[in-house]
């Protein structure tokens, strides 16, 4: 990726004038740096989340604790662990000493760098002393959240919902796109415009009767309202598939037709083998979309904890544990890691898909 983009950038500079010109180089350095800064600010909440997810409750409750996940430093002496403090000494220096016997007016410390010296008495209240911190990512947060929200169950539900929706969407949208791309029939243009027009329809205008009917036939409280509509195609994915199918030459279709192949056979053996890039795109889009869906599971699965996907589980978890930011962020990271990983693996597919559906309509 990096190597590729470097090549492109160099090629672009090369095309438009001398890259060695100092003024040009300065502008490039300035503008690229500016974009790095904007990008870092843009991604900052993600860093915040990842870092917070590794903090211990002790650190979160301390106002002046370091930015990175840390624990108060400790020193183990004779098999016992003692907290370390910054201790101002009578000679004007401040040393890091471990507190052995705390007292109200006088405390006993030990010097971690020189334990043989023995205990050091210090006058004053140890409670006013600051503590040094040492880097300590608290991975236990993840293990605890895993159990607290029953992550395996939420994960299983989310994956199953996403997989079945993806299968339904790919199947139905491929058939519909094939119909629009390869067959002439009266009203085709009108129906295709109608299909695209559904993108502009506010969901609220169909929600109330749909929900009421699903409730009447006993589907509320099951996965059916989330899965069944996926098998009836949707405008975005049909559009994406159709645009791609239109670019595949018809010659092979026609040759197969002359050989007596049925249209379904042509779809399976001639069209699909050439259309796999867009099939992959639609699959990944649908999977991620379904993974990220919140509203439909919220309304159709209310009260059925064993059926919930991650998004709804996460929102409820936030309602209960909002006072423990580390837990909430650990849950967030666990939820976002799979869609983000899919994006990193398939970025070209994602970006191509966004371009087709965004630019060509």
């Amino acid at each position: 990726m990096t190597a590729r983009s470097e090549t492109i950038a160099v090629a672009r500079v090369g095309r438009t004038g001398s890259p060695r010109n100092p003024a040009e180089l300065t502008r490039t350095a300035l503008l690229t740096t500016a974009f790095v800064a904007i990008l870092l600010a843009f991604l900052m909440p993600l860093f915040y989340s990842a870092i917070t997810s590794l903090k211990s409750p002790t650190q979160i409750s301390q106002p002046n604790s370091p930015i990175l996940p840390s624990d108060p430093a400790t020193f183990t002496w004779n098999g016992v662990s003692y907290d370390v403090y910054y201790v101002p000494l009578p000679d004007g220096t401040t040393r890091e000493l471990a507190l052995v016997t705390p007292g109200r007016k006088q405390s006993e410390f030990i010097d971690p760098s020189n334990p043989e010296q023995g205990l050091i008495s210090w006058q004053g209240s140890w409670r006013v002393l600051d503590q040094p911190w040492q880097l300590a990512p608290n991975w236990d947060n993840y293990a605890e959240v895993w159990g607290l929200i029953d992550f395996p169950l939420l994960l299983r539900n989310t994956i199953l919902l996403a997989l079945i929706s993806t299968i339904g969407t790919v199947l139905s949208c491929t058939l519909v796109a094939y119909g629009f791309a390869r067959f002439r029939f009266p009203g085709r243009g009108f129906l295709f415009t109608l299909l695209l027009a559904t993108i502009f329809l506010p969901g609220a205008v169909t929600l109330i009767p749909t929900y009421t009917i699903f409730n009447k036939i006993g589907w509320v409280g099951t996965w059916l309202p989330l899965l069944v509509p996926a098998f009836f195609a949707n405008a975005y994915d049909v559009f994406l598939l159709r645009q791609y199918l239109l670019t595949i030459p018809r010659d092979l279709d026609e040759a197969a037709m002359i050989d007596g192949a049925s249209s379904l056979r042509i779809l399976r053996s001639v069209v699909l083998p050439q259309a796999w890039p867009v099939i992959v795109a639609v699959s990944i889009f649908t999977f991620v979309y379904s993974w990220n869906d919140y509203f439909a599971p919220l309304i159709y699965l209310a009260g059925h904890d064993d059926l919930l996907p991650l998004q709804v589980g996460l929102a409820r978890f936030n309602g209960i544990y909002y006072q423990n930011p580390a837990f909430i962020q650990a849950g967030n990271i666990m939820t976002l890691v799979i869609p983000v990983a899919l994006f990193v693996l398939f970025q070209r597919v994602f970006i191509r898909g966004i371009v087709i559906s965004g630019v060509e309509k």
């Binding site: 990726m1 950038a9 129906l191 299909l195 205008v205 109330i208 098998f231 009836f232 994602f350 371009v355």
Partner: protein
């Protein structure tokens, strides 16, 4: 929509065609076979369209003329325009509509200008590694939306990094973003800006499609960067900016999921996040008023339709389609 130009593929043939049922009888037997097969393939969508779109839409409209609630204490009856009369006098409805419209006025320009500006920057020959930037700007777009909201909730919290930075640069009392009925809107905008990755990608693709000869010719004529932006880039990008605007309008008028998660649907602080669609959602799911909720839904639909139609009418004057007409 079919007026928008396509980059790789020619315009869909006959996309603007009218439904002409008599055409069927004129077909040859072979063409009729083809037509039957085509209709069979699009049958899943046609069935779904009737079951999940057309019939529910008509049912929603029918509901607006009766008095259906889930509890149904009064006998079901035709009430004429009563629901509409109630709607017209409902302060909550007008309040929530004004919340949605005010937020739209803030969000829409930002949602169009920011991705455009970033794309123009990334398209400059002075930015190295544009594809990597593009991917990383896109990244938050795939973050699940609940996780995204919860990440921002804490980032904007009093001990979050944003207020830490503000204190660092000398702001003594940084805003309480999520609990102040004014600051909540910039906070929602920031969360929205996190999802502009797709907009950047679309804008970049559009910018790459502008013929370089236009810029070269204008440079010979002595045009500077600003003149090029105004007289080449923006007109050539106008179809894409228009498309972004239309989809943005449809989306923002329905906006309510972020406040639903952030404030648990309460509309806090002080009703500032009682968006129209949230109000509608509560009318249906909390107060279980089916008919009244349906009436609110039709108002939303009518408003969306009216605004998009006006925008389409205006687009004839302000949007430039290269190669079309």
């Amino acid at each position: 929509m079919d007026q928008l130009p396509s980059v790789a593929v020619t315009r869909p043939a006959g996309a603007a065609g009218r439904l002409n049922l008599r055409a069927w009888s004129k077909l040859t037997p072979l063409a009729r076979r083809e037509a039957r097969q085509g209709l069979l393939y699009i049958a899943p969508w046609l069935l779904g369209f009737f079951a999940f779109t057309a019939i529910p839409m008509v049912a929603t409209l029918a509901l607006t003329f009766v008095n259906l609630t889930l509890a149904q204490r009064e006998p079901l009856a035709f009430v004429g325009l009563d629901n509409y009369v109630r709607l017209a006098a409902d302060d909550r409805v007008w309040h929530s509509l004004s919340v949605t419209l005010r937020f739209s006025a803030l969000w829409l320009p930002i949602s169009i200008i920011v991705p455009f500006a970033i794309a123009v920057g990334l398209n400059s020959r002075h930015v190295r590694g544009a594809p990597l930037f593009r991917s990383l700007f896109f990244l938050p777009y795939v973050v699940p939306f609940v996780a995204g909201v919860l990440v921002w909730e804490q980032t904007l919290g009093d001990n979050g990094w944003i207020n830490d930075v503000l204190r660092l640069v000398g702001v003594e009392k940084p805003p309480s973003w999520l609990f102040d009925s004014t600051w909540i809107y910039p906070a929602l905008v920031m969360m929205g800006v996190w999802g502009i990755g797709a907009g950047i990608v679309i804008n970049l693709a559009g910018l790459r499609a502008i013929p370089t000869e236009l810029y070269e010719a204008s440079r010979i004529d002595g045009a500077g960067a600003w003149a090029q932006l105004r007289h080449i880039t923006i007109p050539m990008m106008s179809p894409i900016l228009f498309f972004t605007l239309i989809l943005g309008v449809v989306e923002v008028l329905q906006y309510f999921l972020v406040p639903l998660v952030l404030k648990n649907g309460t509309g806090e602080p002080a009703g500032a996040t009682l968006f129209y669609n949230l109000n509608l959602y509560r009318t249906f799911f909390t107060y279980q008023e089916l008919s009244y909720g349906a009436t609110m839904a039709w108002l939303l639909f009518a408003l969306t339709l009216a605004i998009t139609l006006v925008l389409f009418a205006l687009s004839r004057r302000y949007v430039y389609y290269a190669g079309a007409r």
